[in-house]
């Protein structure tokens, strides 16, 4: 029995220059950050005011900061992927090895979904929901903080893999048998499993928290059918988390049992069934995409009436559509693997169910458009983001319906057409929706609005960059380019270069957004906003009663740190470390109720 499990000095050796660069970067950034905190004297303030805070607003802000940091990492990965594919037209093979390329696209997908998109929505939900239902805080402030710190622990595990060992190279959903020990003998898949296991539990806890908050803590007189739309869509999204995330927990645990304890759930030997993994992971994975996008539908339902100076058109149908989407999300997962042998009849059923989701989504789109109809529309940036959203999201929706026809999907599955489709939905829907909500609610918390001129620049750059980066992928997919290729056919190179230019435009857009934040903070006197700068009638804009300061506790952060250590122990088979971390966390979790019975 080895004290360090499978960890050894060799685990620190990275094989390629790019990987070594990343390793050095992470080490320098981490030590630099820690040293700066210690010597600048901000540590104490940070600890008191932020890290130990149980205030939903501060927790929300910390989620957004996490998303921002991980977003930089995700964009760096995207840059590596795009430049590789643009330069690796055979006979050239670019500058990344096949293995390293696979690691990067896996990390990119995992980071963007779990550590950018999820924290973005949890950040918004934390900031806005208690204000919208006018409750003092969430139902369980401590668990709220715990969710945050567990998510951070997961994110840290992903980044730790840059320093020690390597990350999974089996894609953002690691299908067996590739992800089994026989074919992925390194620790990459284990990092994946534990980063997501920890972050997944965090999401589940948040769902319980926000569902309880929305159901039991609404202000006096706010009946269900009085709830603002953002609250409704958050309710739908959190219901999906509640029913979908346990399946992720199961499937990750079973994969780990296969890898670490020699079991045979998904192996290709002794009766294991890889298709069971594919079914379970997509039974979680399809709801997940609606978990991400539903809250942003809610954002648009707040933004569009405000800037059209009209009441939301068709509130009741909006509620019904939201709940219909919530329910239908669980009935379509097979569309992710039409080609994997389910048979014509099963495929037909799931194809039709998938097309059915377009109906409630269409209802929503028309409701927003009818809200604008004959309204007095003002094109402030949040409204622009809505315009960007409708025009791009509809394209993605139509390509999605195209993919839901099993016959067509046989041709397009796992081509870059699919990659274009889901980026179309995630960037057009989730990312643009977040920007709309962020600019819209920013003055509520900061007391000043964001600079409009730079905001408009960022908007136009994002929309152009998005179109230039992803429309070529639709064409390339139709030309037969499959996804995840580290070298490409020369005939595809021109369009891949266009796509890389698109990414450059997106990077410029992000730079403008950072500048927008800085400039706005500088000019906050001039941008000063009253308590209701957009003249909205929604409840969150009404002045709030003063909040009694919630108490602080560092326990959640300590449990987060222990979860990181425990996850690290699991990855490297240091069982003692994992057990110790779990035991100490349990004690920390159990002790507080003893103090105030």
């Amino acid at each position: 029995m080895n004290f360090f499990g499978t960890l050894s000095i060799d685990s620190f050796v990275q094989t390629s220059a790019v990987a070594m660069g990343a390793q050095v970067f992470v080490i320098v950034a981490a030590t630099g950050g820690v040293l700066w905190l210690i010597f600048s004297g901000t540590l104490d303030w940070l600890w008191r005011e932020w890290l130990t805070s149980l205030d939903h607003k501060r927790i929300g802000v910390m989620y957004l900061i996490l998303a921002g940091i991980m977003g930089v990492r995700g964009l760096a990965d995207a840059t590596l992927l795009r430049t590789q594919q643009a330069t690796a037209a055979l006979p050239s093979s670019g500058y990344l090895s096949a293995e390293h390329f696979a690691e990067i696209f896996s990390a990119h997908g995992v980071i963007m979904i779990f550590f950018v998109a999820m924290p973005l929505i949890f950040g918004l939900i934390n900031l806005v929901i208690p204000l919208q239902i006018r409750s003092r805080d969430v139902a369980f402030p401590f668990l709220n903080s715990l969710s945050l710190w567990l998510t951070v622990a997961g994110a840290l595990l992903v980044n730790a893999s840059l320093v020690v060992g390597q990350f999974s190279a089996a894609g953002w959903l690691p299908y067996p048998p590739l992800s089994e020990l026989a074919f992925s003998p390194g620790v990459g898949v284990d990092y994946y499993i534990w980063a997501l296991q920890i972050a997944g539990v965090a999401s589940l806890i948040s769902a319980i928290n926000f569902l309880t908050t929305i159901i039991t803590m609404r202000t006096h007189g706010m009946r269900l059918m009085h709830m603002p739309m953002f609250t409704w869509t958050t309710l739908g999204s959190m219901l999906l988390v509640l029913f979908a995330f346990p399946l992720l927990t199961v499937v990750l645990a079973l994969l780990f049992f296969d890898r670490a304890l020699g079991m045979h759930f998904f192996t290709s030997t002794l009766g294991g069934n890889p298709m069971m993994f594919v079914n379970l992971i997509w039974a979680w994975g399809h709801p997940e995409v609606y978990i991400l996008v539903l809250p942003l539908f809610g954002v648009f339902s707040e933004v569009v009436p405000t800037f059209s100076h009209k009441k939301l058109f068709g509130y009741t149908s909006m509620v019904v559509a939201t709940m219909a989407i919530t329910a239908l999300s669980f009935l379509v997962w097979v569309h992710h693997f039409f080609t994997m042998g389910a048979g014509a009849n099963v495929n037909a059923v799931f194809g039709i169910a998938t097309m059915a989701i377009a109906i409630p989504t269409g209802v929503k789109i028309f409701n927003w458009l009818f809200t604008m109809f004959r309204g007095r529309i003002v094109f402030k940036t949040p409204m622009l983001w809505f315009m960007g959203f409708v025009s791009t999201f509809v394209i993605g929706g139509m390509t999605g319906v195209l993919l839901s026809i099993p016959g067509a999907d046989y041709q397009l599955h796992n081509s870059v057409f699919l990659v274009a489709h889901f980026h179309n939905m995630i960037i057009g829907g989730v990312v643009f929706g977040f920007f709309a909500g962020f600019t819209y609610w920013f003055p509520k918390f900061a007391g000043f609005t964001l600079d409009e001129r730079l905001g408009k620049w960022a908007f136009w750059l994002w929309v152009t960059g998005f179109l230039v980066a992803f429309m070529p992928l639709y064409a390339l997919g139709l030309m037969g380019m499959t996804r995840r290729l580290y070298v490409v056919d020369p005939s595809w190179q021109p369009l891949l270069i266009v796509a890389a230019v698109g990414l450059a435009i997106i990077l410029a857009a992000v730079a403008v957004q950072i500048a927008q934040l800085v400039v706005s903070v500088r000019n906050r006197e001039r941008l000063h906003a009253g308590h209701n700068p957009w003249g909205s009638h929604a409840p969150e804009w009404a002045p709030l009663p003063p909040v009694d300061r919630t108490h602080n506790t560092g326990v959640a952060m300590c449990i987060g740190a222990l979860a990181f250590l425990g996850g690290f122990g699991m990855v490297w088979h240091m069982w003692w470390l994992a057990i110790l971390a779990l035991a100490v966390s349990a004690v920390l979790f159990i002790l507080p109720p003893f103090k105030h019975v």
Binding site: V250, A253, F257, N273
Partner: protein, 186 residues
């Protein structure tokens, strides 16, 4: 901590139990898919020994009844007695399960020997783990009532524990029927 808090925690626990149902549903589905994949090793009907199963089931059901009655009790002594009795019955249940698992491993039918055995061990073991957590919870509540007597917060926690324990009963009935009884038809 008012009655308000009470509603929150209880509601939250119900939500957790719902999500746990999905977790078990995933494991049951996996078991259903893999239960024929015995690969020449033991199969479901080999695991069926009705006498111990009957004892296990009765023990768990009785413990559920006791904790249900305990939630109605007022005096510290009775509550402590009820918690202790439930704990011991839980221990007996787990004891039987460990014995069954150890026997299988000794007979060369551990979880790594076929897909069927993997799914069996993990499904039944996950339930066992839940029972163990419930017992830990009992221990904590026992210490609390010992130290502080029956406060308002305490009776809330006891109700929640009882709810959780009943839920584990229901899962066990499903395991009993699907894993053990249905295996005879294979």
């Amino acid at each position: 901590m008012s009655t308000h808090q009470h509603n929150h925690s209880l509601f939250g626990l119900w939500l957790y139990i719902l999500s746990d149902c999905v977790l078990f549903a995933g494991l049951f589905a996996t078991f259903a898919v893999l239960r024929g994949q015995t690969f020449g090793n033991l199969s479901g009907s080999d695991l069926l020994h009705l006498s111990t199963l009957l004892v296990q089931t009765l023990v768990l059901l009785t413990s559920s009844m006791i904790i249900g009655l305990t939630t109605q009790a007022k005096s510290r002594g009775v509550i402590l007695f009820g918690l202790a009795a439930t704990f011991i019955l839980g221990l007996v249940f787990i004891g039987f399960e460990i014995q069954e698992f150890a026997g299988l491993v000794a007979a060369g039918a551990g979880p790594g020997h076929s897909a069927f055995l993997s799914s069996f061990f993990v499904l039944v073991g996950t339930h066992g783990l839940h029972v163990a957590v419930g017992m830990l919870w009992m221990l904590i509540l026992g210490v609390q009532v010992w130290l502080h007597g029956t406060t308002h917060a305490f009776s809330r926690r006891l109700t929640m524990l009882a709810l959780f324990w009943h839920f584990l009963d229901i899962v066990w009935i499903a395991i009993f029927s699907i894993v053990y009884l249905l295996s005879t038809t294979l």
